[in-house]
């Protein structure tokens, strides 16, 4: 039982990272039906911006905010330069472009900062809280991750449900043409979606830096794919789905590591993906759409 609760806590903090990245995937997919493979690399850039800021002596929050702003701009630039022209193109062309952007960010990262692993400054000296006579350990870093994730999720819910741009995003993702008839500028709305999704990924990047201390230019690939799995599990295009999917995936992986072997972790994640795709392709929270004949 102790292993279970310990892994649950570890899983929730890992899952928070997945959830933050998954949100961006799901929002972008919801609005332009694109699997943005470069999204994991935006997360990597976010980690490096956070790394730069904290090594300059910035505090955690300013570094987090800077990273989110930089990546929001990066996300918009990527959309305008690489994806916008391809909105009517075959899906495979867009997907390949996304893979290209992903490679580009990684290799530019290597060129700019080198391939070696960097150690993130110790912004939070680790404090361990012992629960149940030391049977379960929670670190302050884990708490920071979970709290920041929950706060960002609440902020996102607020933006999506209460603000004008959020309503525009939902309208465009449901029916872009009807949204145009409302006077909504679809291009700007898509840009905003990329900006918000990328900012969330950047936050995840900074949090991972704080949590694991180590970052490198290829760090975005696996979490990116896993976060996509999380988005699919939750129902791609569905925002709460991505959140729940991310947390679930984190917990499942932690439990596999705790009870089995961490070597099997990735296989379990992808097996889960395939099972969900085959059994309920719309995900846990999604609804099915069918092709018109």
């Amino acid at each position: 039982m102790e292993v279970f609760f310990q892994q649950l806590i570890n899983g929730l903090s890992l899952g928070s990272i997945y959830a933050l990245i998954a949100l961006g995937y799901t929002m972008v997919y919801g609005i332009i039906r694109l699997i943005n493979f470069a999204h994991g690399d935006v997360y990597m850039v976010g980690a490096y911006v956070g790394f730069w800021a904290t090594t300059q002596g910035w505090g955690f929050l300013p570094a987090l905010l800077l990273s989110m702003v930089v990546c929001a701009v990066l996300g918009m630039v990527i959309e305008r330069l690489a994806y916008k022209r391809l909105r009517e193109a075959p899906r495979i062309a867009v997907l390949i472009t996304a893979i290209g952007v992903s490679f580009f960010l990684e290799s530019t990262g290597v060129l700019a900062v080198g391939a070696k692993v960097r150690t993130f400054p110790n912004v939070f000296p680790e404090v361990k809280f012992q629960l149940f006579n030391g049977a379960i350990v929670v670190t302050n870093r884990q708490l920071v991750i979970m709290v920041v994730t929950v706060l960002l999720m609440l902020l996102l819910q607020y933006i999506v449900h209460r603000t004008k741009i959020g309503k525009a995003m939902r309208a465009v993702s449901h029916d872009a043409q009807a949204a145009m008839l409302m006077g909504i500028n679809v291009n700007n709305t898509v840009s905003a979606t990329f900006a918000i999704g990328s900012a969330l990924a950047a936050a995840a990047g900074v949090l991972v830096g704080v949590y694991y201390n180590a970052i490198n230019p290829y760090m975005g690939i696996m979490p990116g794919l896993k976060a996509f799995v999380a988005a699919v599990v939750g129902g791609i295009g569905v925002i709460p789905g991505a959140f729940v999917g991310g947390l679930s995936l984190g917990v499942i992986e932690a439990l596999v590591s705790g009870y089995g072997s961490s070597l099997w972790r990735d296989a379990v994640a992808f097996a889960l993906l395939i099972i969900i795709l085959i059994v309920k392709p719309s995900g846990l929270f999604g609804s099915n759409a069918r092709e018109k004949v």
Binding site: K164, R170, A171, H174, D175, M180, L181, N185
Partner: protein, 234 residues
């Protein structure tokens, strides 16, 4: 108010509109009728900026809006209630109405118009927190109309408001259209239900295979054999 001259629109290789011209005066109800596939919806989509014409002019209050971005056209005061309502199903009635006023900044005016919509469609007020997708067909049609009115349009385009509705509801919708018009909004109405449309319009155009084949005062056209022919063939 609206003058369309020699509009040509293509879908890929298909020549969908072949030189459509029509005119709507301020304060009128004008109807555009015709069989399926005649090009009525294409005409409306082109007016709203969803399709770009290859040739031709669309003068709205003297300004050429052909090929203009859709949101700019809405801003000028030309709104559309699309075919099949296309309400935002997973958003509430209130949110749908708010989206109708997307481009407006005058909070007081928006509130006032919202009240007006609720007076006109009391059922929407009862269902204000409900998701639009859970409304009945007739209620969705009302929501779509209310949503378009929220932009305070000068010209309202209605695409098949009677589609899929029971006859009693159709009558209700049509009397509301008359009321909206009486309150000062000019209306261009597309209908399959030709008799109904002709009974409330002042002027009518009949379309066939991408062209206007007949036009005139609505009450004259209502008596004409030609209309029946346009629908049911020679």
């Amino acid at each position: 108010m609206l003058t369309v001259r020699n509009l040509h629109v293509y879908y890929g290789a298909i020549h969908a509109l072949k030189g459509v011209s029509l005119q709507v005066e301020e304060g009128e109800i004008v109807t555009l009728i015709g069989a399926n596939g005649a090009g009525k919806t294409t005409t409306l989509h082109t007016l709203s900026g969803l399709l770009k014409p290859r040739e031709g002019e669309i003068l709205f209050q003297g300004q050429n809006i052909a090929g203009m971005a859709a949101q700019k056209i809405v801003a000028l005061g030309l709104s559309q209630v699309p075919e099949g309502r296309r309400v935002f199903a997973n958003m509430t009635v209130l949110e749908n109405l708010e989206l109708g006023a997307f481009l407006r900044k005058d909070a007081a005016g928006i509130k006032e118009d919202m009240e007006k919509v609720f007076v006109r469609f009391p059922r929407l007020q009862e269902r204000i927190k409900q998701l639009a997708g859970t409304l009945s067909g007739g209620e969705q049609q009302m929501l779509a109309m209310g949503r378009a009115l929220m932009s305070r349009p000068k010209l309202l385009l209605l695409d098949e408001p009677s589609m899929g509705l029971a006859p009693l509801l159709v009558k209700e919708i049509f009397s509301i259209i008359k009321e909206i018009n009486a309150a000062g909004t000019t209306i261009l109405l597309i209908e399959q239900n030709a008799h109904m449309a002709l009974s409330i319009a002042q002027k009518a155009y009949v379309m066939e295979t991408g062209k206007i084949v007949l036009s005139g005062p609505a009450n004259e056209l209502a008596q004409s054999e030609e209309v029946q022919k346009a629908y049911l063939g020679g």
